[in-house]
Homo-oligomer: 430 residues x 4
Amino acid sequence: MKKSQSFFTQDKPASFRYYKPDRKVLGKKMADHLRFAVCYWHSFVWPGLDPFGGDTFQRPWHAAGGDGMKQAEHKADIAFELFRLTQAPYFTFHDRDIAPEGATLRESNRNVRKIGEVFEKKMRKSGMKLLWGTANLFSHRRYMSGAATNPDPEVFAYAAAQVKNVLEMTHELKGENYVLWGGREGYETLLNTDVGRELDQLGKFLNLVVEHKHKIGFKGLILIEPKPAEPTKHQYDYDVATVYGFLRRYGLEKEVKVNIEQNHALLAGHTFEHEIALAYALGIFGSIDMNRGDEQSGWDTDQFPNNLPQMALAMYHIIKGGGFTSGGLNFDAKVRRQSIDPDDLVIAHAEAMDLCARALLIAEKMIDDGKLGQAVDARYAGWKGKMGRDILAGKMSLAKLAAHVEKTDLEPQPRSGGQERLEGLVNRYI
Amino acid sequence: MKKSQSFFTQDKPASFRYYKPDRKVLGKKMADHLRFAVCYWHSFVWPGLDPFGGDTFQRPWHAAGGDGMKQAEHKADIAFELFRLTQAPYFTFHDRDIAPEGATLRESNRNVRKIGEVFEKKMRKSGMKLLWGTANLFSHRRYMSGAATNPDPEVFAYAAAQVKNVLEMTHELKGENYVLWGGREGYETLLNTDVGRELDQLGKFLNLVVEHKHKIGFKGLILIEPKPAEPTKHQYDYDVATVYGFLRRYGLEKEVKVNIEQNHALLAGHTFEHEIALAYALGIFGSIDMNRGDEQSGWDTDQFPNNLPQMALAMYHIIKGGGFTSGGLNFDAKVRRQSIDPDDLVIAHAEAMDLCARALLIAEKMIDDGKLGQAVDARYAGWKGKMGRDILAGKMSLAKLAAHVEKTDLEPQPRSGGQERLEGLVNRYI
Amino acid sequence: MKKSQSFFTQDKPASFRYYKPDRKVLGKKMADHLRFAVCYWHSFVWPGLDPFGGDTFQRPWHAAGGDGMKQAEHKADIAFELFRLTQAPYFTFHDRDIAPEGATLRESNRNVRKIGEVFEKKMRKSGMKLLWGTANLFSHRRYMSGAATNPDPEVFAYAAAQVKNVLEMTHELKGENYVLWGGREGYETLLNTDVGRELDQLGKFLNLVVEHKHKIGFKGLILIEPKPAEPTKHQYDYDVATVYGFLRRYGLEKEVKVNIEQNHALLAGHTFEHEIALAYALGIFGSIDMNRGDEQSGWDTDQFPNNLPQMALAMYHIIKGGGFTSGGLNFDAKVRRQSIDPDDLVIAHAEAMDLCARALLIAEKMIDDGKLGQAVDARYAGWKGKMGRDILAGKMSLAKLAAHVEKTDLEPQPRSGGQERLEGLVNRYI
Amino acid sequence: MKKSQSFFTQDKPASFRYYKPDRKVLGKKMADHLRFAVCYWHSFVWPGLDPFGGDTFQRPWHAAGGDGMKQAEHKADIAFELFRLTQAPYFTFHDRDIAPEGATLRESNRNVRKIGEVFEKKMRKSGMKLLWGTANLFSHRRYMSGAATNPDPEVFAYAAAQVKNVLEMTHELKGENYVLWGGREGYETLLNTDVGRELDQLGKFLNLVVEHKHKIGFKGLILIEPKPAEPTKHQYDYDVATVYGFLRRYGLEKEVKVNIEQNHALLAGHTFEHEIALAYALGIFGSIDMNRGDEQSGWDTDQFPNNLPQMALAMYHIIKGGGFTSGGLNFDAKVRRQSIDPDDLVIAHAEAMDLCARALLIAEKMIDDGKLGQAVDARYAGWKGKMGRDILAGKMSLAKLAAHVEKTDLEPQPRSGGQERLEGLVNRYI
């Protein structure tokens, strides 16, 4: 543990102003509402490069020419040290984040499993839990044209083998969910792409995953993570609504849910709370990747969240929708490329956790006070009347409705939407 | 007809360089491929105002204080004169485009029907056909919070009555389709909105329309026109993929198809050809609104199309998908606010029709030459092999695929996507 | 005053939680920091229409067929009643907002001046002040192709005459600034535009305005309001940096400053605080239009501000830059089209004012605490060393610097930008 | 040369349908109009990675563990082989593209100069010319917070030393221009940034470069390449208008011009032709980076150009503005990450060159026909009348103009902008 002690300056877990894991909020512990997870890739794998520049972080386990497995173990030491310092109870990873790629998939899988054993020990000792695992089906050049949607069925097979390994390992580590992000399941140009065929391939792949999940007895959720584009020009899992249609098309709407990311919502032209509210409405809400996109940048910046009013509304919709079941709040966020001090990792997570807790407390006030919910209910009150009920019950045809309008010379009177009043109300909770 | 003769300078129909209605293209007449329609609203109803300025066109039938029905007839005269000059065989309209709103819906419907009778005569005489009709459920203040998705069921009823009238009139005028554009079926703020409830209302409404269509024996398609936003912050019919999920949710995927607009595709973050190709892949392609959005403006500019390579690719995907059945190519396009000469209307339509014809001839070359299609087929050829067929036939589980990968130490080799070569190929057809 | 009493429900001025006009903040009264203004156009002129729908507000003074001047006086009564209810000390207007257009410019100007006299009395009585006046050079069809940049010099002349009238009236009403927003000073298509010529015309126009300001002894600032587009495809006053270059080109950088709007900043791809900080850095900060754009919509939504953290940063940069001199905080914001109750106007302004006050108090904490400013100073501390000073003093050539690097084998070491730490710090003030 | 022969399949230079270097166009050879350059970085340095995946190209000179200088020479061999195959007469490079970074800047510069000597021989032998050189001041971690705008003056010094070396080498290789792209001259967050100070640093840096240029007798242009963002959140050289203001502020508007890129224009919210036309209007047009951005992606995709109508308009504005002097048309474009065949490099360049030639021939028709230019002239004809001339000559004050308007009761009549007619006209040339 020496290494990690010298890696971060501080040795004592971060302190918080708002986050008290055991504090009761709406009948549950704060920790059970928030279910924070630290992600492996941004904090331990990304070296600080961007499309115009190289490594800025110079983490010791990235040193060129090192022994891959040794470096992987060193990385795991530091990772669990960060988990301890931040006090987040969960973590998440891709297979390629935690162990080096081998000469064959067998070797790669073996590497992954070896680190899985390291994890198992560390988790037992620390109480750390796995929110979800996932397979990296997008970084290696074999996946450059997609994994499940690749024009080459051998790549589909390779991806299947890789998912099988991570799904089983996630199960063994008592992971609570399994995520699929289809980063390359899309296209660069329609000129070389058969969209219908690729959708069918993807539908088939997902069905195989669900089938395997049941076979091994994994009880967690299978989650798809919508994103509209990047790295591809178009990604098939564009947004929550698109994923819903896809799940319906391939008979999966009862089996698969969504992992919603703020930055991805933004790139798809939506607010975060829209995607959350819609997922609840469609019955496919699963988990979230809490981060933030830069509103002036057209790509995935994956910053730590920091806009309190927006976060409070997101938390409000999550709580109102019923909260997480096996899902949680994964920080799919990276410190900026210029934040090269190891301590920046601790600070970033701790500040974000505290702000999420603060957002939760605001959401609690919104729920407790009830005025927001009442305003919505009051607005739709007419639908509880006879005509409203008859319409929704299917008792009114177009002809009957028309007859009613004509007979009564109906002229409905609009009522104020009261947006400014409601926005003011929200600000009172903050 | 005197009025119209003095309205436009020219009396002779526009001449074309590429558009020859009877010219054979891929076994069909050019006119049967293109099925051009002129829309009523942009050319005869919009007075040239925008959010920062008023009327620029000063059409005589917009004069303040005039007799509404007289002005409606004058407008119809000019409209049919434009149809004659452009030689487009179809037109499209909203109920409110063609006749003034009355004191009650009964009176409004009566006004609409009276102009319907005027249309009927003019259509008989001129051979002009109706591509589709639609009801304006968004301009009047009663619809400010939605039509089917209004918090007030009376507005739902009013909208139903209005659609009934236009659907029946469309049927009587032998219209070939009926369109629903849900301009206000969305929200301004989630703070006052129950998304799940509103989706259910919309699903119910659409089911009533379909039911009524069958009841009256209307054989045309019912079409939804996707748009992501504007005037609302969020519109439920966001894009083709979203509409597909919606149709599945409410059991309508066999009954309803989409009318795709270039500008709406652009606003949703897609290319026009993406939306077309996806609609074919999902089996819901219906018709198109051919126009163009300004790529630097964040709103619906509804300009006449003029980017030949993009139009050629759109035509290519339409032809490849099977072409129009009852759908067609509606110019949902308006001359610019500064194009105040009546002749600008003729020029804009004629230039656009000619360019569409040119795009069709390019698509013909692409199809005839076959190289584009062959490149796609060749790219997916592996899926015709045993493993590909077995995967798609459901014979391979995750476990079997993994066993295969491990046994053979499979390492798939990527092949060039050849994008630049294909882009060069496309430019050879232009 | 009867009319206004029945127009708004409440008769008592709005109450506030944070806004106390006389409260001392950083040595000045809160009211002197904020200098709130209510704008005439959004609250009293806009009838609730948008590009897809008509009037929703049905204000009595918009009734068709009314006497224009009577309606203008009624509107003024209600306006001053709103000013009283909100307690904002300033207002702003365009000439066309306050009085009807006449048959000639002389008549229009006369109408404007008559209402000016009404204003004068009301201002004297109420203590209300004019933050700025401006001429509407964009709504009438004569301006459809620009005012100063019109291809027709007669339009330039007409615009000049209109500005002269409003500038003089602003002076007489003791207005503290005069604003020019070049809504149509741009182009729809380069195909019919000579950009260089139009820039020269605009430079000339602005010089005439400055010359006239001095001639009449007006001491207020002349302000340009940057906006990138809308209604035009491209507007010449794109953003603060563009306006700066324009002012330099036409010798006006000492005479003219900018009025910065949040929504316009957003449309130009910037944050509000960027535009503010840049304007201070370039020495051209003047005033602000406080509102907010919808981050998912591509057009000017002009909503009331409500994102507290963003507003606090904007206030911080204003205070840090020195605060307003003759400028102020104009609510260039309109209630939503569905907010049809007159009281929505009061609520919207009061909530916005209170939130601005809260943002100011947060900015006060940032300034008082000093940590944010210290972090920036510390980051650039190296520039206070010898080499830094020599470079900026012009004592180092490329050759000298290169010699130094080579001689010392200099290898500068990067230091963390500490972004997450600073973001966390900001959230502590909120 | 063996290596290169086996690298590309073809040995014979690419053939063209439109590009004939010696063909006369508007009195000049086609080659003298187009001045094509191949860029080193995209074609020989980028390994195919993106933010979500690694190397796809596996070029032999990128092999891990190789001898850096040997690999640099191999790369140079292949580069000149590509130049030969494409027949582009120019190339462009950054210092870090061509030779490996050493342990000190002295060593790095030595490496660069050694490859410079290799270039010199190859250039002499092949007739290949250098369009421009540039220093990479953005990839290494020392530049993570900017080069000239770094908070550390030592980084400023280091950058100065690096530029000095490349500027001198560019001069020695008879390079025709020198470019500065300020990829990191901007900020990630205003929270740690002093914008005014950084602008001053940048102004100083650029002045040193200009001073050194004169000192060594370099006659080429110094060019700034505008880009709004990426990798930074905000880049100081946002667009042409911003750069113009910057040059004025630091007294450089006569010394420095712009290198305009299509993709950067798009990211800044402009069309390519806007930036070109504006640069000519402001007198700072220098050179172009011909590529294309994906209109649905929010980042720099740097694709090869392929939209003929847009390219034709860009060429039209270049020719109309006077054409290139020392500037040229650099393909700042990379083959897609999936285009892994070496031949894709040849195909991409050859197709792009041919399309540029075709665009030039269309521009020639536009110029020869003259109708586009005449339409613009006719639109502004009024400015040649007495009032127009008097206004521009400064003979009319606001007061005089107002007196004229009032005396004549002037009411200017708008004329059609004719946009659709002009768009139709443009399509006739294609």
